[in-house]
Amino acid sequence: MIPRADIRYDEDTASLRLGGAWTLAHYARLQPGLARWKEASTRARQVDMSELQGLDTAGAALLAELFGADRLLELADRAEGLSEERRALLRTVARALQGAAPGEVPPRRSTLLELLEQIGRAVEALWRHAVGLLGFIGLVLTTMASVLLRPRRWRMTSLVAHLEQSGLDAVPIVALLTFMVGAVVAFLGATVLADFGATQYTVDLVAYSFLREFGVLLTAILLAGRTASAFTAQIGSMKANEELDAIRTLGLDPLELLVLPRVFALLIALPLLTFIAMLSGMLGGAVVCMLSLDIPPSLYLSIIQNGVDVRHFLVGMAKAPIFAFLIAVIGCLEGFRVSGSAQSVGEHTTSSVVQSIFMVILVDALAALFLMEMGW
């Protein structure tokens, strides 16, 4: 067992004796007591390190603290009883510390000031985000316009692949989810409307809500979580891997190569999925109506046929491409904002999901207000 580090001062010969192991293992114990020896160390004319049994950089750092880097450098040559390796170690540490002032921590500012600073930064970031999004939308639209007229530049393979990933593969989850929500809405309607003896209007409730709102909104939110995140992660890891730079230096346009196929894929997939969602939601309603309200499917269908205008369907469908565009553009833009590290990919993926869901709901609310005022 290596004896613990110790330090002694001999008044008569004015010499400081260091012994034991000056290593990382003893650092925490040695460091606080060091200040007591500061004064003795300045008076000491001789330093004897011959009893030193262990020395590493942590110990050397302590010695540097005790004597100061300059004096340690001098001691490394002069002190008695040191092996050549230890002298080299002391010299290296002393030189490293010489240039560097001991870690000065910048003074902390007040919490209030920091809070204000944070708010300021957040607002500025929000503003820059909004401007960036608008700019990117413009860029995508111009590229889209220039590509649309030239079918040779359409990326069919990529488009089909994304259609499959974000469209076809999402059919089961979209159908299942909207089926269940449709059933829930029907149950709610049945419960509330039964008090008025108007259970038949459950059918209208389900049809209206799914045609106008739920079909497209649920699909959009699902795709925002499923596809926007995928777009961000795909493009983001490409960016981290410098693939985007490679695309640019090969004289290609990442917007045309990566963004447009994704945007077009969603523009096609989201309306189709919305249609499926509407059907499946109303199917869920029909099942509940049949089982608990004794409305047979034929009656359910005829109520919808006679009582629900086609414009509700059109209103719902009209929103689908808008949501699709927003989701795709936000997903891709966040991918481009990734900066190199793995953590950044994660941050921007989260941000793209949050942003696209937020935008979808915001636009939906504005549209509902507008359409209501217009009486459509």
């Binding site: 750092a61 290296t92 510390l97």
Partner: protein
């Protein structure tokens, strides 16, 4: 005879049907820098990973500091691993931590230091590794390739390891930075008494700092010994490696450097 710190005997590594190492023997002596070279795909990195215990070999015996990592209890193994420092090829700094926090992390976790003390020591390690102080509070993403290597070296040195493993430390550095890194490793070896296991492709590094060189080829260590002995070995790959245009240039540079001293 010098003490061995790493002893590899009869190592076998297989990936599926592909055998990377077959009955491989290798020693690392205390206080030396051993350069491990070999063509791409000869299993240099696999050898390193086997020694530090990241990969369980299919057969064979590896003793690090006299102990077999695999046979240890988790606690003893962790204690042993603290005596090893590894510098990964691309640094492997934790992206969510600053350079200073990266270096202080092992100190806080393993030596029971409080954060301010650990950071004080970490700063010392950063200066030892040749990083400017203003780099301490940066995140790895904000550093250049050379600074990442230096920060990773500082982290590898945090616990004052006895053996330092370097996986292609100079890959991706400019010649000036690479030469500075070589000097740094030589200085640290002399000052801290490190034994260094150095995987490299860089001929200049071999000539500048390696005490011994081991050549991996045909699933074995073809030859291990002093550089001039290895370079004189009669083997087509070794002849190409050391006496090709790059090898000659590096040898000449090393001679000139030795002459000017």
């Amino acid at each position: 005879m010098r003490a061995t710190v790493i002893e590899v005997r009869g190592l076998v590594n297989r990936f599926g049907s592909q055998t990377v190492h077959e009955d491989l023997d290798l020693d690392l002596y205390r206080g030396e820098v051993l350069g491990v070279v070999g063509g791409s795909g000869t299993g240099k990195s696999v050898l390193l990973r086997s020694i530090v215990g990241l990969r369980r070999p299919n057969a064979g015996d590896i003793r690090v500091l006299g102990e077999q990592l695999e046979r240890q209890s988790p606690e003893a193994r962790s204690r042993l691993e603290r005596r090893l420092g590894v510098l990964y090829q691309r640094g492997a700094l934790f992206t969510s931590l600053t350079v200073l926090e990266n270096t202080a992390l092992p100190l806080i976790e393993h030596s029971g230091l409080k954060r301010p003390e650990a950071e004080r020591l970490a700063r010392l390690k950063l200066t030892l590794a040749g990083l400017p102080l203003n780099a301490a509070d940066k995140y790895p993403a904000e550093l250049s390739g050379g600074m990442v290597k230096r920060a990773a070296l500082a982290r590898a040195l945090a616990l004052d390891p006895e053996i330092l493993f370097l996986d292609e430390p100079t890959a991706g550095l400019d010649p000036v930075g690479a030469a500075a890194f070589d000097t740094l490793i030589a200085t640290l070896r002399d000052a801290l008494g490190l034994s260094v296991f150095l995987v490299t492709h860089d001929l200049d590094t071999l000539y500048a700092i390696c005490d011994r060189v081991a050549v991996l080829a045909n699933r074995k260590v073809l030859v291990a010994g002093r550089l001039d002995v290895v370079a004189a070995t009669d083997d087509p790959w070794i002849q190409d490696y050391f006496h090709g245009p790059r090898g000659r240039a590096a040898a000449q540079a090393a001679r000139q450097a030795a002459g000017s001293r």
